[in-house]
């Protein structure tokens, strides 16, 4: 792959404000008692890294270490408070499954809507519609409201749309959390294809097995700071996620299952 930068994260800090009190009554009581009204914390703290086009990056870290915030910054949902995030090309992917589905609309309508949100045109959606439906495999439920879907079907539909966008960067945030085994396998294959086609893959996961299979570089976040950036095996060791327990393959499946 050409040595072109796909994602640049430069000294990025994202600050969240925690508000302890919301109503005027609570606020005045707290003020009288001289309690703190709000507090800030850094969800991301001076994080810097560069990703070349075609790299596949695994993001690991404990809950609350800033993985999803990082993804949201790269996706453009949020802007950094300090530093800058730059990306090249179209981005698609999933920040939690089934985002933006309207429970009252049918699967069919939601496919069109979600595809449009991800930047697809009407003609593009129509061309890929059959593929998306085949991949989601929701059968005759396609024309019933997605509010009635099972969580697995919901996730499948979301993933199916996201993966059919011709993007340069694909973001996947614990996408495999709710799918069943055949679907997970299908997803992994598709993500493998994405990886091989030279697109940049950004994969958040707690499963060392799938990260090992999918990624050629690992970033580990620790309380908003970039703790580790480099080779996969060492990254997993850094996180102490390689505790013994069964064979490699079993391990991977277990971890996928426990992804929820």
């Amino acid at each position: 792959m050409s040595a072109r930068e796909s994602i640049v994260v430069d000294n990025v800090t994202k600050r969240f404000t925690i508000r302890y009190h919301r109503t005027i009554k609570q606020m005045s009581v707290a003020a009288v008692r001289r309690e703190q009204l709000s507090d800030t914390f850094n969800a991301l703290d001076s994080v810097s890294f560069r990703v070349e086009q075609g790299e596949s990056i695994g993001i690991m870290g404990l809950n609350g270490s800033g993985k999803s915030t990082l993804l949201k910054l790269i996706n453009g949902i949020m802007r950094p408070d300090e530093g800058r995030v730059l990306t090249r090309g179209r981005i698609s992917g999933l920040i939690a499954t089934g985002a933006g589905f309207h429970p009252q609309l049918t699967g069919r309508e939601n496919i069109y809507l979600n595809a449009a949100v991800l930047g697809m045109t009407e003609a593009e959606t129509r061309r890929k519609f059959d593929d998306i439906v085949a991949f989601a495999d929701v059968g005759r439920h396609l024309d019933s409201p997605v509010g009635h879907y099972s969580s697995g079907m919901f996730a499948r539909l979301g993933f199916a749309v996201a993966i059919h966008v011709d993007s340069d960067i694909f973001l996947a945030d614990e996408v495999l959390a709710v799918g069943d085994k055949p679907f997970k396998k299908k997803c992994m294959e598709r993500m493998q294809e994405i990886r091989n086609s030279g697109r940049t893959l950004f994969y958040v996961s707690h499963a060392p097995g799938s990260v090992k299979k999918m990624c050629d570089r690992v970033l580990v976040l620790e309380k908003g700071r970039l703790g580790y950036d480099g080779e996969v095996q060492a990254g997993i060791r850094y996180l102490k996620y390689d505790e013994p327990g069964g064979t490699e393959e079993e391990h991977a499946d277990d971890e996928l299952g426990a992804d929820i």
Binding site: S2, E5, V8, F16, T17, K72, L73, I74, N75, G76, I77, M78, R79, P80, D81, E82, G83, R84, V85, L86, T87, R88, G89, R90, I91, I95, A96, A99, G100, F101, H102, Q104, L105, E109, Y112, L113, A116, V117, L118, G119, T121, E122, P145, D166, S167, D168, G198
Partner: protein, 308 residues
């Protein structure tokens, strides 16, 4: 921090066609969150259309009468007002039902745009938090949904007018369009301002509800403008500072005056002088408010996803 803004207006990722990506002339590095506000909304018309359609079909989902409700509701509202003002209070003007209804169509368009627009971002939480779309999309979509619901009212209004021997005229048409544009711009501007504010304090949706209740009584709808002039004399010009009053008057010029026996006399008696000049002035102010709303929205937008 300032750097996120410099890429603004640059090449957006939605525009480039896949396949271009391996070429040297591919898209450059840009801030993924870069938006150009309302312009971006109109560039992504297809998404806007889908959001509007979603809103409309979701509103009548599971309803037996469906879209028919948008005919029933204004008809009932008209009947109630007419009964109270014309029958109980024995007031009104010539063809008072038309006078009333022309006002109601505009007032309803405004209150719906403003009210639903204010709630739009909070209501679309799941999209706002998880998808990168220009957030101005939601207030604008609310305004368009409200505009769509003006159609049944217009059909009924047009029907009544024709039955009373009204013939459309060019000046009337211009007045109607001006009124419509004024309300659309003003509704969007206020919805933009308040939808962002509503994320931070939900009180704003209550504020808006209260404000919209005033609208009904602050426009010459259930009473003619001539009555205001008669009571307040020179101070009536301040009454005309209200853009909604102006919009209603323009709409009455479009429909109501033409149905009366002597339109010229009716206009002279019940409409203020310089109706169009005033209308354009208000439209200009509304556009300024819209630009202001966009500015405020940009400032607040950064904190929206985390405060939802």
């Amino acid at each position: 921090m300032a750097d996120t803004g410099t890429a603004r207006g640059g090449r957006r990722r939605g525009r480039h066609v896949a396949g271009q990506r391996d070429g040297e002339a591919g898209p450059g590095l840009v801030a993924p969150s870069a938006t150009s506000g309302l312009f971006e909304v109109f560039r992504r018309r297809y998404l806007l259309r889908l959001l509007v359609r979603r809103e409309i079909s979701a509103r009548y989902q599971g309803s037996f009468l469906g879209l028919f409700w948008s005919y029933l509701q204004p008809a009932f509202r008209l009947a109630i007002y007419y009964f109270v003002i014309a029958e109980i209070l024995d007031r009104g003007t010539e063809n008072f039902a038309i006078h009333l209804f022309a006002g109601m169509v505009m007032v309803h368009f405004f209150t719906e745009s403003f009210g639903a627009g204010t709630r739009s971002i909070v209501r679309n939480k799941s999209l706002v938090q998880k998808m990168a779309i220009p957030r101005e999309m939601f207030p604008v979509a609310s305004m368009l949904v409200s505009a769509y619901h003006v159609v049944p009212g217009m059909v009924m209004l047009g029907g009544f007018c024709v039955a009373l021997g009204w013939r459309p005229d060019l000046i009337g048409l211009a007045a109607g369009l001006l009124a419509f544009a004024l309300v659309a711009v003003l509704g969007t501007a206020l919805a933009l301002l308040f939808s962002a504010a509503n994320v931070f304090f939900r009180d704003f949706s209550n504020v808006v509800q209260t404000l919209t209740q005033f609208t009904t009584f602050s426009v010459p709808m259930i009473y003619p403008y001539s009555l205001v002039e008669q009571r307040f004399g020179d101070f009536a010009q301040y009454y005309l500072l209200n853009p909604m009053a102006e919009a209603v008057l323009l709409f009455q010029r479009a429909f109501w005056t033409g149905t009366t026996d002597d339109p010229v006399a009716t206009e002279a008696e019940h409409l203020p002088d310089h109706l169009f000049a005033l209308g354009f002035a208000h439209l200009g102010v509304a556009l300024v408010v819209l630009a202001l709303g966009q500015l405020v929205f940009n400032r607040l937008e950064n904190k929206i996803p985390e405060r939802l």
